[in-house]
Symmetry: C2
Subunit: 162 residues, 2 copies
C-alpha cells in the first residue's frame, strides 16, 4: 500500500488577502452596517462608485446580490451566498454559488469578516481566500487593499452615526 | 445608465450530471448507509476499489474525508464539506472546501443527493453540478454514470440488509 497521492495544495497563506482595521465604534453597530441592506448600500462601494441594489438573506445558505454602479452608470452585479452567520461576530460569504447550492461560473473567493471587541471599539478583519494563488494575485492587482480599505473607512464613518 | 454586464453563465443544465435509481428499500435505510461511516465504506467505491478511510461530520459546515484505494493499493483522499443536511431527505456536499470555509485547490463539483418516498421504496437522485461545462465533461469521461451507477447498486444492496 502506498501513501495517499493527493496533489500538494498551495498553502492557504499564499491564496489569501487580509485587511484589518480598528474602529472606535462597538461591533454591534459595525455588524448592523454590514447586514442591513439600506446601510450596506451607503458604504460598500468605494466612492465615487455606488451601490445600485442590495438583496440579502443574512443566514447560512442565504443569497446575496449586490449591484455596483460605476461613475459612468455601468452596473456590475455580484451574486453570492452566505456560508456562515454569527450575529455581531462573523460573516462568511462566497461568490462560488449563485444560490444554495448552485455553482457560479467561477469560484473566485470566500470572504470571512470578523467583528471583535477591542478597547471598547471593534477590531474589523476581512480575510479573503481564493481557490488559486493566481486569483489572489489578480484580486490584489485589482486594488484589493485600496478598495477594501476605502470601504472600511466608509463603513466606520457610517457605523459611528448609528 | 446601461444594463448590468455580468457575463452570461453557462446554463446549469450544461454543467450537471444526474443519476436516478429506484430502490426497493425505505429511504431511512438508504440515508443511514450514506451517513454512517462504517456503512458508507461498504458501498462508496466501485468494486474492486475499496474505501480505506471515512471521516464525516454530517452537519452543515462539517468536514468529510473519504480515502479510496485502488486494487493496486494506491490511495486517493477526497476531502470535502457538507453544505446542507436534511435527515432522510437530502445531503449536499462539495469538494470546493477542505474544511469550513477554506477553499480547496479546485472547486470541481457540488453533489446534491435526495432521498424520496416512492411506492414504499426510495427514489434516489444524485445531481452533480460543476463550475464549468469542461469539468462536467471530464467527470462524464471519468466514468460518472458507470461508477456512480455501480455504487448506487452497491448502496441498494447494503441498505436492503439494514
Amino acid at each position: 500500500m502506498s501513501e495517499p497521492v493527493a496533489p500538494v495544495p498551495t498553502p492557504i497563506e499564499q491564496r489569501e488577502l487580509v485587511l484589518t482595521r480598528f474602529f472606535n465604534v462597538p461591533r454591534a453597530k459595525v455588524y448592523r452596517a454590514w447586514t442591513e441592506p439600506e446601510l450596506l448600500k451607503q458604504w460598500f462601494a468605494p466612492a465615487p462608485w455606488t451601490i445600485a441594489k442590495v438583496d440579502m438573506e443574512v443566514r447560512p445558505g442565504g443569497s446575496s446580490l449586490v449591484v455596483m454602479r460605476s461613475p459612468e452608470g455601468q452596473e456590475f452585479p455580484s451574486p453570492g451566498v452566505f456560508l456562515e452567520v454569527v450575529k455581531n461576530e462573523k460573516l462568511v460569504l462566497t461568490d462560488a454559488f449563485v444560490k444554495a447550492w448552485q455553482p457560479s461560473e467561477k469560484a473566485f473567493m470566500v470572504a470571512t469578516i470578523t467583528f471583535e471587541d477591542h478597547n471598547g471599539g471593534t477590531k474589523y478583519t476581512a480575510r479573503v481566500q481564493h481557490w488559486s494563488a493566481a486569483d489572489r494575485e489578480t484580486h490584489e492587482q485589482m486594488g484589493f487593499h485600496a478598495g477594501w480599505g476605502q470601504c472600511a473607512d466608509q463603513l466606520a464613518a457610517l457605523a459611528a452615526t448609528l
